[in-house]
């Protein structure tokens, strides 16, 4: 049983942030509702009011402007998965969006919701990290740009204040010579939360890694860039030996951050293998 609350449907960002301001921390934003509706049902969430942002046109658009792709917070995973702009300039994100949950979940769930829910296993976060995405956060009387890497405080926690609204996500268009891949491992192919996910963006020049960005999901308290593996690979040739060595840096980072767990003896080799597979997939692209 869901407890009662008031339901607001603002038509503009201004109206939404005014409502948030007035609610003094007792309101929750809803977009797709795929996480919040469950939180309401099982009593984890009991806001006095709910602000539905899906009627705000500005938050429903994917646009290209001055070398940047911007995605409104209320754009659904289905829309991202089928967007020709995202497929062309940030395929690692459309690949990840196309594997979230189920078709029904992707038709409701939004990119903004996926970020704000801040699950360690959120599928869109590692791709957005390797795309160097920024979030536009608006509030009454101002806005700020937050690098995605700084948005997360811990599992299911963001650095947003209660009166702030994540309005838009932007990332620079990926140059055509950059290769990407996203791989996730879960109990099943569909309708399962990722146990390990890896997103990579890379550029090879003269048979060397000219650029390499790696982010992982599910295996650290919040998704993270793997800076040690990145630094190790930069300038190296993309051969089996260097991929193997880099994979050890990924599993070491996992253990350092998440500690030794009962699952570690299984996860360590699997993380390493998934990373190598993701790298090979990108290299073969």
């Amino acid at each position: 049983m869901i407890p009662p609350f008031d339901y607001k449907t603002p038509n503009t960002i201004q109206e939404a942030i005014e409502l948030l301001w007035q609610a003094e921390g007792k309101a929750r934003i809803i977009a797709g509702g795929t996480d919040l509706a469950i939180g309401l049902r099982n009593g984890d969430q009991s806001p006095q009011s709910i602000i539905d942002i899906t009627r705000i046109e500005e938050l429903r658009k994917i646009e290209e402007k001055n070398g940047t792709i911007s995605i409104g917070a209320a754009v659904t995973h289905s829309e991202i998965a089928s967007s020709s702009l995202v497929k062309k300039h940030g395929k690692v994100l459309s690949d990840a969006a196309s594997g979230i949950g189920s078709p029904q979940i992707r038709n409701l769930g939004t990119i903004g919701g996926n970020l704000i829910n801040a699950s360690p296993a959120a599928d869109t976060i590692p791709p957005l990290m390797v795309l160097q995405a920024m979030g536009k956060v608006v509030t009454k009387g101002g806005e700020r740009q937050v690098p995605l890497l700084q948005l997360f405080k811990g599992p299911y926690k963001t650095n947003l204040k209660p009166h702030e609204l994540l309005a838009q996500i932007t990332f620079p268009k990926l140059p055509p010579d950059m290769k990407t891949s996203f791989l996730r491992l879960a109990r099943r192919d569909a309708m399962a939360i990722a146990r390990i996910s890896v997103a990579v963006v890379l550029k090879i020049e003269k048979r060397r890694f000219e650029d390499i960005k790696i982010a992982v999901g599910s295996i650290t308290p919040t998704p993270e860039r793997m800076s040690e593996a990145e630094a190790f690979l930069k300038g190296k040739s993309p051969d089996e030996v260097s991929l193997q060595k880099a994979s050890l840096k990924i599993s070491e980072a996992m253990i350092r951050q998440s500690g030794i767990r009962p699952s570690t003896s299984y996860k360590k080799p699997v993380v390493e293998a998934l990373f190598i597979r993701a790298m090979k997939k990108a290299l073969e692209e």
């Binding site: 407890p3 009662p4 008031d6 509706a37």
Partner: protein
């Protein structure tokens, strides 16, 4: 905090009073008495409550009722009638794609959305469209066959 919402339900514009904390599923089943849409898990994992919102499949258990204001909702009750079944319904019967029937309304709605988008889906596309549905009886084979055959009609 009751409010009246207006939306199109199976082709007819309706006005109905709802509490904002109701889900679309509760509105359909308990207020509008359209019990063809089933509640399985209630948390968006089984697909039994799938309805179409503006033509696309969604879990009615995850949609709060006020969200459907101004939208088009289609449920299993709008798919065919006792006198004239929808080709998908006929095909499900012909291929034995129903056992207990609990997952069937949701699967039929996803199948309808699939065929409207793609009139000749292959097995992979059918499986992908059904990936948000659990059926614990038939094992999916007959369901996939039924959809494939319905697309050929």
């Amino acid at each position: 905090m009751e409010r009246t919402i207006k939306f199109t339900l199976n082709g007819r514009l309706i006005n109905v009073e709802v509490s904002p904390h109701w889900t679309l599923l509760k509105l359909l089943r308990e207020k509008l008495r359209l019990t063809g849409t089933k509640e399985g898990c209630g948390i968006g994992e089984c697909g039994a409550c799938t309805v179409l919102m503006d033509g696309i499949p969604v879990n009615a258990c995850l949609v709060l009722a006020p969200k459907v204001e101004g939208r088009k909702i289609e449920t299993i009750e709008g798919l065919g009638s006792r006198e004239s079944l929808h080709p998908l319904q006929k095909s499900f019967i012909d291929h034995g794609a129903i056992q207990c029937g609990f997952c069937t309304p949701g699967i039929l709605m996803s199948s309808k959305a699939l065929l409207e988008k793609n009139s000749n889906p292959n097995r992979k596309e059918i499986k992908e469209a059904l990936s948000g549905h659990l059926c614990r009886c038939t094992g999916y084979h007959q369901i996939i066959e039924a959809i494939k055959k319905a697309s050929e009609v």
